[in-house]
Amino acid sequence: MVDWLTMTIQVASLAMAGWCLISTFRDRPMLVPHLIGMGVLWLLVLGQAVATVVTMVGGERPEETAMFVSYLATVVLLPPACAVWGFMERSKWGPAVIAFACLILPVLFVRLEQLWSPVV
């Protein structure tokens, strides 16, 4: 896994969560800028996933490969799934869905990094 990408994703995800929480509290629905933000975040996640898979094909694998791959699949699917689900809702609860997703994404990345290089 590319360390700086993980850091960037976590910071971007938290920023996105903050932005969406503000939208929720200001009673705004999810708009196109939110969607673009999620798109950028998703591209970063995809970049990390591709880089990681390439490394794994190259032979470097975490010990609990099955667990790691299932987490990786989850972080790849989470942003688009939540973006669609939130965008369908035309009230302040749309950004609330995105905020929730963007709060758990950094946690999932912490788990991914732990699985990738366990600190014993």
């Binding site: 667990m67 299932s70 989850t74 009230s91 609860w93």
Partner: protein, 142 residues
Amino acid sequence: MSDTAPDAVTAATLRTGPGRLLVAVYGVFALAATARGVYQLATKFEEAPVAYLLSVLAGVIYLVAAVGLARAGRTSRRVALVSCVIEMVGVLVVGAASLALPEVFPDDTVWSGFGSGYFFIPLVLPVVGLWWILRIHRLDRD
């Protein structure tokens, strides 16, 4: 909610407004609990069978609740209601049991310690779920 017009209240409203967020949270918990349980059952069943089976069970109940909330109709609402009640009982019983009889739970489940490993969301979730289902039910009847 002020943003939900009374005339817009139909059987479909469980998944709109706050319900939208609820379905998302339930979906994530369904995935988390099921994946964790299945993985643990597959790799180390002997270590803590009770805990791992409970994880899978919790995951399935979350999944049923998520689907019940996301689908329109009275049957789905009843399904969601029942699964939220089971969840409530589950998190309370397992939470208490994990503290009183730690030897039965050598490994954690989503419900251990009243969901302390998951920011207590498993404890809050069924309460919010029940509140939401009953609220919609009352609006629908009026």
